[in-house]
Symmetry: C2
Subunit: 478 residues, 2 copies
């Protein structure tokens, strides 16, 4: 037994924080033991845990957060769309600015923008991201010699930052039902499912040797019922099913989308997907703001996931995700930073609850019914933190989101002396983190047991920012 | 002339940032020249400005923010109320937890809690605060030998941190119309206006020698129409008018409050105040969530101010402040962090707009009609930043909120390389700050020309936090 313990600790790194989040509560006196392969070997008593010991004094340690919905390149329009461009501004006028940016980026620009976004995520405690990637072609609409050139730029950016990435490769066929082609969408289009599948197959080969805890992998993302006609959609979903890939799709973000779907198919988006058998446990409906009670039941029956993106949904005027009805029906809710107007997944977590408080004029709307596990003081916060971790991991097909033996050793730490949480005890620390934490309090971030952020800084942060600033200057000159 | 210039620069400190916010835009090449008395001497060309030069490399400099509504002691319940305590949780159940904390604090505890809250404000770029102070008596409900003992603890905390404070001394007479006295409110009560006025007069004497740019001053705050009967209210307002003091009052935060006022007086709160002639340019209605269009007009006609507290209003389930109707009618909107569930006045600023986007499903709701000043890209952000600065200053009776000669030299800086704003140029920096800034980007904060926060830290931060942690431990044991 002693030998086995020695073997276990061979090459292990032992992180010893003041408090460690074990899934429902913070506990003191525990260590996180990480193996050389980057997985969790044990969560055990700090006394006597073998290996290289890293003391994290004054810190609480939590599982890394999972950002289930990102469009990394949209970081370039931050601050450029918060003004009125017409009589009545909406998602649709915002989209024009976003399309202009999408048209202007070279492959290396995309790398620089993505690296900036992923660095900001790492600094906020995010260790894995689902990148909903729809830039495939040249600005002129031609295929690059390598049709996955841009996808590979995004994956390279994530690898260089050190965060895990699910490259959710987008299928995009058209501007919409009975709508003429839109010039601004020509970088997105793969006109038929055979082309989409062949290109996705080629990308899949990149990640054949990733091992048990991959740093990058592939999912598919039929963009929306607007952009992908039903027959195309069915082929993409059949392909994903055969490869057991996660499927993400924008669903019911804007009322106009639902109306167009109704006009084309006689059914609302979720109804259509359910009828056609396209939902399932690997399906994530991104947004799902405008869904009927019947559609919520269909998502629940299929064991599908919803990804809410409240900081973006409030920015775009999409509306409030009915997380109360979704969670009550048993639909897991993941979270995404989406357009990156803010990169703070805890702000998304609290808004999931807060936007319901604002519309219902009551408090603690999503608080679970009392159970015997954990403290009631932290039960709501634990549920919201699960959205930012476990549900996100399920959504993007990742085994992380919690710190248990055999899972990836991805975590972040919180400075217990940061003014945003100072004074919290083990019982109310999680509510303080979920409802009040400032990004300034995130100090260390590890992926696969290795620190990518130390004392609030990423090693390559300076260069990343300089390159991003040069990109912004170039885009302004364009 | 040369001599005069030398005189001007005698003892001056010249802050030279990369960019300086001059009210509608950021400009480069400018310096902020601060006099020995703590006021702004000039905003002028950085080349040749005389005095001790402090280069703020990689920084943008903005006027310090004004937090117009704070209950500093409520910092002690952060993280303790985010769970369901009954079938349906609301403002009213939250209030029970807040009352329990209010009952438990000694004078020194109140100092420690206040110092913690004011330190967090300083670190967030807030340089002046309106403290709506209603703790007057001992836990048993007796007057302290000094009836302003607790008010003085709060003012001392603000002075020690270095932020300016308007001590808005609260008048509180009763639990409500036809409601029996509430044990938990006995620390708040001053049963008659004569007592309230005498005690406020005594406090006013503390600040007789504050000079042109006071660090602390007094206003009055009849708590609400619920807590102050009309005759009492009229005497308080007459007193405030004779002394030209700011008057703050909680107005229309919760529907139940409006209903009770209607029952007692036959009028809604704002209607009542307008009819009785109690509104005016020194009057601030805090919250004003549930107001009719007619009430908005009454506030506008009286040139009164509204103080919105969106981070608290979303936490308490109060509802959405109709900032669209208020601003359209010409009512200035100030901002407050109120219960301190978060201390981030820029988050409050963006929520003023965002909560309207969520309910109206459109964008840029508060964007002003185009004018010739400034860039349209930053016009909405400038309007929201005005709420966090100029309108807050007007609300609490303070000459700050902008950086102009003769005004107090209160400012904060933003690290232009912080990932939350990196890549912004002078045109889109303000929208990036208002919509995306992380508190981590706030690096220097000055009050009266002297730095109270340097490189993101307050000099006394360590001791302040240790004392606050000890207070939290004591409250848990109590």
């Amino acid at each position: 037994m002693a030998d086995e313990e020695n073997n276990v600790s061979e090459g292990a790194t032992v992180y010893v924080p003041d408090l460690l989040y074990t899934g429902r509560r913070f506990e003191s006196g525990l260590a996180l033991v990480c193996g050389p392969a980057g997985d969790v070997l044990a969560v055990e008593c700090a006394e006597g845990a073998g290996g290289r010991v890293v003391r994290l004094r004054g810190r609480a340690l939590l599982p890394g957060m999972v950002n289930a919905h990102s469009h990394a390149f949209q970081r370039v329009i931050r601050g450029r769309t918060e003004f009125r461009s017409g009589e009545r501004d909406s998602f649709w006028t915002w989209r024009e600015a976003m399309y202009a940016a999408a048209s202007a980026l070279s492959p290396e620009d995309l790398y620089d923008a993505s690296r900036m976004a992923f660095t900001e995520m790492a600094l906020a405690g995010i260790t894995a991201v689902g990148e909903f990637h729809y830039l495939h072609r040249t600005p002129e609409g031609d295929e690059y010699t390598d049709p996955n050139l841009l996808a590979r730029c995004v994956v390279r950016a994530a690898r260089d930052v050190g965060v895990r990435v699910a490259l959710l490769r987008v299928a995009y066929a058209r501007a919409g039902f009975r709508r003429p082609p839109d010039e601004r969408q020509k970088r997105f289009i793969e006109p038929d499912p055979a082309r989409f599948i062949a290109n996705t197959e080629a990308l899949l080969k990149d990640f054949a040797d990733e091992g048990e805890h991959p740093r990058a992998w592939v999912g598919v993302a039929p963009h929306s019922v607007r952009a992908v006609p039903l027959e195309y959609l069915k082929e993409v979903c059949a392909f994903a099913g055969s490869r057991r890939l996660p499927v993400h799709m924008h669903v019911a973000e804007q009322p106009a989308e639902n109306a167009a779907c109704l006009e084309e198919t006689g059914r609302t988006p979720v109804r259509l997907l359910a009828d056609e058998g396209l939902l399932g446990p690997r399906f994530t409906a991104v947004h799902a703001v405008h869904v009927t009670p019947e559609e919520v039941q269909a998502l629940a029956a299929a064991r599908s996931i919803v990804c809410a993106c409240p900081t973006t949904e409030r920015n775009l005027g999409d509306g409030v995700v009915p997380a109360d009805r979704l969670l009550a029906a048993g639909v897991p809710v993941a979270l995404g930073t989406d357009s990156h107007t803010q990169v703070d997944l805890l702000e998304d977590a609290r808004e999931l609850e807060y936007h319901l408080r604002l519309t219902r004029l009551e408090r603690n709307v999503l608080a679970p019914v009392a159970d015997d596990e954990g403290s009631p003081v932290s039960a709501l916060a634990a549920r919201l933190f699960d959205c930012a971790t476990r549900s996100g991991a399920s959504s993007i097909g990742f085994r992380g989101g919690e710190l248990e033996p055999g899972r990836p050793a991805d975590f972040f730490t919180v400075d217990l002396n940061d003014p945003s949480v100072a004074g919290a005890d083990s019982e109310d620390l999680l509510p303080a983190v979920v409802f009040s934490l400032s990004r300034a309090a995130v100090r260390e971030v590890a992926v696969g047991g290795r620190l990518v952020v130390e004392d609030g800084r990423h090693a390559a942060q300076g260069e990343t920012i300089e390159r991003f600033k040069a990109l912004r200057r170039k885009l302004r000159g364009a």
